[in-house]
Symmetry: C2
């Protein structure tokens, strides 16, 4: 990003295994409209959610290196699985750069939302079996109880665009009914996968009314604003209209599919021609 | 496989992006019970179905090289996407070895089954958009009509083990109802993805009664028996009981998940400890 002016600051690098992290980028963009971003989707190797901890950590280090080489000033790990398995390693490798994952902000937001201290977390197989949300929540509040459940089909539904209606609700019922049955059921649900915000209507439709939903995309944007006061200040510029931040798009495979499926996640149309394919 | 006796012949190498190809191995094993096999699931990089042609071809060449290095005498590409994108390249690289894909046998079986010459093919995004089934069928019968549809969620359902019941049938209805509506609907359905045979009951439940289903796993086993007369002869050994063929298991990630999810695809319990993890 050689054309970034010093006052604007270096771009924020955001990576995910694919398009899911675009829900995080969307929230970051809304919070920091003047900020430049570089988004990297490791589409050649998605999904991370079913892969082992070692493999996910290795891939994440490669993603971070590619973004670091392009001069980012902050790294957002917009993938729950990568946040679970690679965050410590990435912080060791980039000690002078803020490295923000999606799990810690989600855990904090869940504890802020819950009154009963019984919190449900749903995510991919890797995120749930790795136990990172469970640990992040109980480290902050040892009395909290966490019920965690892998909901792999939600990922496929979001990618297929079947985000509401009969099938989405049937899947949501099958995953969530038992989890939220009974008087001691959780009062808060953490969407611990960046794909899941697309299904929020179907999920809401099958939950008991009082359950609060914590969206990790929104919470990570809030965390970025806390960590980056200079960038946050840009969010409310005084005086003349400022240029909107620039977003550079990188993927490791399939620009056309990245743009097509990613548009629903980002909430606006992406152009395949704007996506640079890189090899990691 | 240095302990393969010459009379038994070299093992057959079978690869897939993950566990889906185990439905093909299961059919091969039933057809050739004395034959040795080496199965490789490229689990670190699954799925192939959403990746570009170039990437799938590159991964397939690496899989074939790993199996070739272990002394196989025949290669079965047990992945529809890899068969669509890599078969020609693999045949060029291994001119002296039979290389069998799943698409040609499936196309032949579909034409043998169809009376109306209107054939439906379902598969992953990559298989369908690549058009390999469509070409393989119309090359054999230029008057045949092919209606092709990507059914990505079937893959996720099979991996989740939700192979029958409300959700599976709701998904099958949503994909297939329009395809099989009307008097000119196809009379034959090709399951063009190795995951789909697990869902055959749910698929059958939503199809009009007379539609015939062609399972590419079964058709590739028949093709292997035709191409390997010596191996086929082993299928009916005369005289004394012979040792059952040996299967060696390779994967590129996650032995535990490979064994757990793969057991349903292979139809018998796999042990994670028996799975060797290799790097491609």
């Amino acid at each position: 990003m050689s054309d970034s002016s010093p006052t604007r600051g270096a771009p924020i690098g955001v990576f995910d295994s694919g398009v899911g992290g675009l829900t995080v980028l969307r929230a970051l963009r809304a919070a920091l409209p003047l900020q430049d971003f570089i988004y990297l989707g490791d589409t050649a190797r998605l999904p991370y959610g079913t892969k082992s901890a070692d493999t996910v950590a290795r891939y994440s280090v490669q993603c971070a290196a590619a973004l670091s080489a392009r001069g980012i000033g902050c790294l957002v790990v917009a993938c729950n699985t990568a946040s679970a398995f690679a965050l410590d390693e990435l912080r060791l490798r980039y000690p002078s750069m803020p490295v923000i994952g999606v799990i810690e902000p989600g855990a904090e937001a869940a504890l802020a939302a819950s009154r009963s201290r019984h919190i449900a977390v749903i995510g991919t197989e890797g995120t749930i079996s790795g136990g990172a949300y469970q640990r992040a929540i109980t480290r902050r509040d040892p009395k909290a109880r966490v019920s965690a459940l892998a909901c792999s089909l939600f990922v496929a539904l979001a990618e297929e665009g079947w985000t509401r209606g009969t099938v989405a609700e049937a899947v949501a019922h099958r995953y969530l009914d038992a989890l939220f049955a009974g008087a001691a059921a959780p009062d808060t649900l953490v969407l611990g996968c960046t794909h899941f915000p697309l299904l929020i209507e179907a999920i809401r439709a099958v939950l008991p009314g009082p359950v609060r939903i914590v969206d990790s995309a929104a919470t990570v944007a809030a965390a970025a604003m806390r960590l980056l006061p200079a960038a946050a200040a840009q969010a409310a510029p005084a005086g003349q209209a400022a240029r909107a931040g620039r977003i550079s798009w990188l993927a490791t495979d399939g620009a056309e599919r990245f743009a097509r499926v990613g548009s629903a996640f980002f909430g606006q149309t992406l152009e395949a021609a704007a996506v640079e394919i890189i090899d990691l």
